[in-house]
Symmetry: C2
Subunit: 413 residues, 2 copies
């Protein structure tokens, strides 16, 4: 059985994702599609809008066959670590291909860019450091360094967010000596960061979340941009839990955590560098919302995403020490199953004897360094619910088996 | 001007406190009465029912002239440290006498007990350790050791909670070579731990809090046991903030803090001894309330109070390291003024040139080891309020000047 993988957040699953999924199938003709999906917290340093379980259902109904969780330690990191974790999971599952969306759209460009960069690593690092010294943020410095070295006609434009991710997927495959074959699809319409609707059926997840968080919280207004299954599960989630998860819901906890921590304790948190923790401490007392706090601490040097990610690590109490070993060898040590179709189940049965890391159906009883961080992330994500719901959801988080979906009859088993 | 001090929690101020205050004045005939009052968290390991400001008003209207705060590092500790902090504050203020309530009622008994214990310290320590080894809690072991050494006809019965405190006040005066004179008043009626009403006008603070936390939350039902001023300020507090502070309000934060901490981080918390942190971690996930949690973790060895105090230190993130230096020399390094009558103001003007530690009217800008813990306690205490109220109250905590009360006209200035 040939499986093709996609690496996703589905926050939430929208028509752009559906287009990418359908194009992936058309281009690679797989027997099974696997989504490596972020869990409770996302790369941009935000809580996921709705639970991983609700997002798994959106994925299964849209045609994904197997949903596995990208561990916290990869999902909330910069593109390089994010890519390494995701690629290692697809490789471990004996997936044949990975297909990613990019602004570039030509896989050969990525391959040659990786080769070019391997050869020019020193010059690139040196130039990046120069730009950093001038006060640019890390992504900006890296992008400027790259521009000064590489010709955009020949190589991928790494100032574009999806090109950056794609570059790191191809590089991770190379570095991990994985047999995965990479493929790319050109992204159309909505840009990654677009906050406004500019296309009749495709909008960015950012603009969709923005609409959901508006005062009206009207799902109808955005349903043109969402598959019907997403609309259904978003509505069901809001009806059941009375909220969509966003930073503001966690601000009480973040402020409590910051105000009861010493500067030296905060300096131990992952991504707290160059005394930035002192800046956070200087402004948190007087901040009345997360938005207010972010606007106060934002500087030219630290991007919004970088600061949000730091806040996520503070919130989950993720220390430098805990990520040190994982970052030295950024590969997954287990496969956490979130959901599967009948086809996904058959694929799993087919490959599981050859999978060399544990496949977790339920997570009860399992324990390792990587998984400890997933647990803390889940405990933090659920901390905003009132009791006894919080305890029930926490119990489900570990005891719940993967969601099983019969894709022919479109029913859950 | 002669001042007499009382050491109190006033949680809340009730008729028993009024009786003690009136008897203190009758017995010592002071020009000014000073209350050293615990702030946000109390010796039994609980948040104060209402803010220090509301409790200060209750004290001023009941006849106290000067209210100063007992710092967190003393207020939430065992009798010995609690007493040392409080006595050091009264001494620093050049107060002449301290008058405490006790089950014994005769000051000479306390003096001779302290002398006796000084002579028999070794035997007492040895016997206490023996009982500890048999699995008794520390207070029980200490009390049993003392019983086996001392004759209750001659010496104070240290199985009684107020006698224990009184003993430590007298001992602290001795150890600190303070010129404070100690006096005691026999406690009548309601026992310290009584949960039920057994006297027509005097009830324990425990039974009063219990009534306030009952489903009805009817202040009328308990007003026989409270001065009118207490009833007024309790009602006003509830009306303004819609709550009385109790552990259940902080359970969300405690659970979040425990679930995002590693065992080794928890082992650094003050009073986390003998691996008790592992017991807490084993039960917190499945606990749906503070009461539920406490019932799960309680053992014969660890008293309810001991466990609650540990939970307070976990909640405020107070580490062994932070208390080490303070416990080596348990004396106050500042005097935080919470409120004063005209008489209290005159006393303060009279003594202030001879006071050798800073007197803080506002706390903005001041900083030392002891005060850092008070700040964390305040930040934690206020963390349960919604924004922007939380930020406003936090700002007031530091910027607010002491409450000034004109006792003749019974008006605030």
């Amino acid at each position: 059985m040939k499986a093709v993988g996609v690496i996703v957040e589905y926050n939430p699953f929208h028509n752009g994702h559906k287009y990418h999924l359908d194009e992936t199938k058309r281009k690679t003709n797989p027997d099974c599609t696997i989504a490596v999906m972020s869990g409770n917290f996302l790369q941009r340093g935000e809580p996921a809008l709705v639970s991983k379980w609700a997002r798994t259902k959106m994925a299964l109904e849209a045609g994904i066959d197997l949903v596995i969780e990208l561990p916290y330690a990869f999902a909330t990191q910069k593109a390089e670590n994010f890519a390494n974790g995701a690629i290692s999971l697809l490789s471990a599952l004996h997936c044949e291909e990975v297909c990613f969306g990019s602004e570039n759209g030509t896989i050969d460009d990525f391959t040659s860019t990786v080769s070019f960069m391997k050869k020019n690593q020193q010059a690139y690092d040196h130039t990046t450091r120069q730009y950093l010294k001038e006060g640019y943020s890390y992504p900006k410095s890296a992008s400027l360094a790259y521009s000064s070295l590489a010709n955009h006609d020949t190589y991928v434009d790494l100032s574009k967010p999806n090109n950056i991710l794609g570059y790191h997927y191809v590089k991770a495959i190379h570095d991990q000596k994985s047999s995965l074959k990479a493929e790319t699809i050109m992204r159309t319409s909505a840009g990654y960061h677009d906050e406004r609707f500019s296309h009749e059926s495709i909008a960015s997840a950012t603009s969709i979340r923005k609409a959901l968080f508006s005062a009206e919280r009207d799902i109808k207004e955005i349903q043109n941009y969402l598959p019907q299954s997403t609309t259904k599960w978003l509505s069901a989630y809001f009806e059941e839990y009375k909220l969509f998860h966003r930073w503001e819901e966690y601000f009480t906890l973040l402020k409590y955590k910051l105000l009861t921590s010493s500067p030296s304790e905060l300096a131990n948190i992952y991504e707290a560098e160059e005394g930035i923790e002192n800046r956070l401490l200087a402004f948190i007392s007087e901040s009345t919302s997360f938005q207010d706090f972010m606007e106060k601490i934002k500087t030219k040097r630290y991007t919004w995403t970088r600061l949000q990610r730091l806040c996520v690590h503070i919130l989950t109490n993720t220390t430098k020490d805990q990520l040190k070993k994982i970052n030295e060898n950024p590969v997954a040590t287990y496969i956490r199953l979130l959901g599967m179709s009948q086809k996904g189940q058959r694929f799993l049965n087919h490959v599981k004897k050859d999978v060399e890391i544990p496949i977790l159906s339920k997570a009860t009883g399992f324990s390792d360094d990587l998984f400890t961080l997933d647990q803390k992330a889940a405990q933090t994500y659920l901390a905003i619910f009132p009791e006894p719901l919080r305890t029930q959801l926490l119990r489900q988080e570990y005891a719940k088996p993967p969601i099983r979906f019969n894709e022919e009859q479109q029913i859950y088993l």
